[in-house]
Amino acid sequence: MAHIVIEAVSKRFGANQVLDQCSVVVEKGTVLTLLGPSGCGKTTLLRTIAGFVEPDAGRVVVGGRDITAMPPNRRQVGYVFQNYALFPHLTVADNVAYGLRVQRRNRAEIAVRVAKALDLVALGPLAQRYPARLSGGQQQRVAIARALVLEPEVLLLDEPFNALDAQLRLAMQIELRKLIARVGITSIFVTHDQQEAMTLSDSVAVMRAGRIEQRAPPLEIYDRPDTAYVAEFIGRANLVPVRMRGGKVEGMAIAAPLPDGMATLIVRPENLRLLTGPCDGWTGRVGFATALGPTTEYEIDIGGGATLRVLAARRAGEAVIQAGQAVCVAVVDAAACRVLAGNRGDDG
């Protein structure tokens, strides 16, 4: 059931078309992540939903209500800012109570709801602290409590883990995921970190230049990317120019419903293996090998300046193939490859 509907939203800042007829639908109770590099418009889209940005065209519908023309203070969506935007002159409890005070709730109700919200994020004992004396992770939780205490229909989060150091990040991501599941609120995250997207979401929308390139559950995006751009953004991918003939890739047993001519083959590094003898694939030389422990990543020079990345599982004690060694690279599972029309190389 569609809870949030974004319909053909466009926005231009000066000469820059930041959002270009962007459309996406979010089901109730699910988590969508807007994923993309900086400048792709993901944060602008989030801010448009919150009302901080007025779109040039398009509609934003939440829970059946068209909120496109509504000012931000009437939209009733929860928003967590990248730097948390906690009010420095208010304590944690006052920060969380802010929205309730604006709604002119009575003191008793505010006290109860604030206590509940702080318990939800396990910050009860810090209620009287000021934000300056909290750690990054604690500040984030206050921001979340402040948004959730108002019981909004929707929660929007702008790169909430950016300000945390790497170690804390994964733990906080999992914790947040559980919290959202517990509360059952429809959420949209914005991030440039694809690992975050994989951890947090039911569904990922990869954005590029103001448009949504592909929207699907995380693993589907990974296994079946629609474009080279998406393939390269999630995980690592090899993009190899190949020739189609008669519905198959020339020289390999990979079928694809494409006309004869140039095409791009997308194959993941872990879907390739190295063989010493002749094989049904590419011949080349090992250019560089990185021993990662459980796996080894090889860079294979296949001639014409092109390289293939191969991720090979490594049994304990197994030797690493030396640089300069001649090898043959073969596809492991043809079904797990994607072939895209045209020879677009890295352009997608």
Binding site: G51, F52, V53, E54, A69, P71, P72, N73
Partner: protein, 303 residues
Amino acid sequence: MTADALRRPGLPRLLRRILHGRGFWPAAPALAYLIVFMVLPIGTLLLFGFVTIERGRIVGDSFTLAHLDKALHDTLVWRLLWRSLWVATASSLLTLLLAYPVAYVFAELRGIWRMLVLIAVVSPLLTSALVRAYAWLVILGGRRGILNQALVSIGLIEEPLRILNTDWAVLIGMTQIHLPFMILPLLAVLDERDRRLEEASANLGASHTETFFRVTIPMSVPAIFAGLALVFAVSYTNFIVPQLLGGGNYSTLAVQVYEQTIVVLDWSRGAVLATILLSTCFAFVLAIVAFGSWLARWNEVAR
């Protein structure tokens, strides 16, 4: 704020933009106030130098260059201009000589010492200029002046020094009073400067003194000239200090402006002299700033 809260559906977008003003309207009262109470009055001031004034009102349609002519041909005016110029210049340079060390040392200090220096620098700023001038009057006074009393009692001199009512008194008074104006901007610049440039200089073999003259001072040239321009302007137009510390026979162009306007009540002459004062001050300040930027650019190239 990026949020546009004036979203009444009836209002067209352009009208909304104008009403919202993109944040201009809060400044409107202040701007209107300044135009009415500063721009127009200054215009009047310039105007009064070119009309005939009788008993505080303008007489008829008279636009005349007579007052300006008279002033420019008056040797007294030129003498006073010259004196104002050299007193202001000397005072500015003296102020710089004393201010730079304070700012430099401040940048090296930590903790409570910083606070003490700041207090020493800021407290004269908040004290009335009159009080400070009076203090110098008392200190530099003739036989009864404190300085003289002290020097005589120590036995350093026999006859009291005649400092008051001379150029020196005016110079000392002006320098001290304007010292905070020079120190504060230099303070900010020297405190926040990039020490690594000095470290690099030391690493390349320069002594502290060389580094000071080759790196530190050139780095602070813009702030130095900004301070010089400011101190020059306030010294050049200061009439309190020359009057009180220079004595009855001492005068500068600024003092003349005061006397003509308030004592002699020759408003036209006062206005013309004020115009000359302002325009020459502007010209000199421009020259200082121009020289400063030329120097800064030359530094860039040399580096």
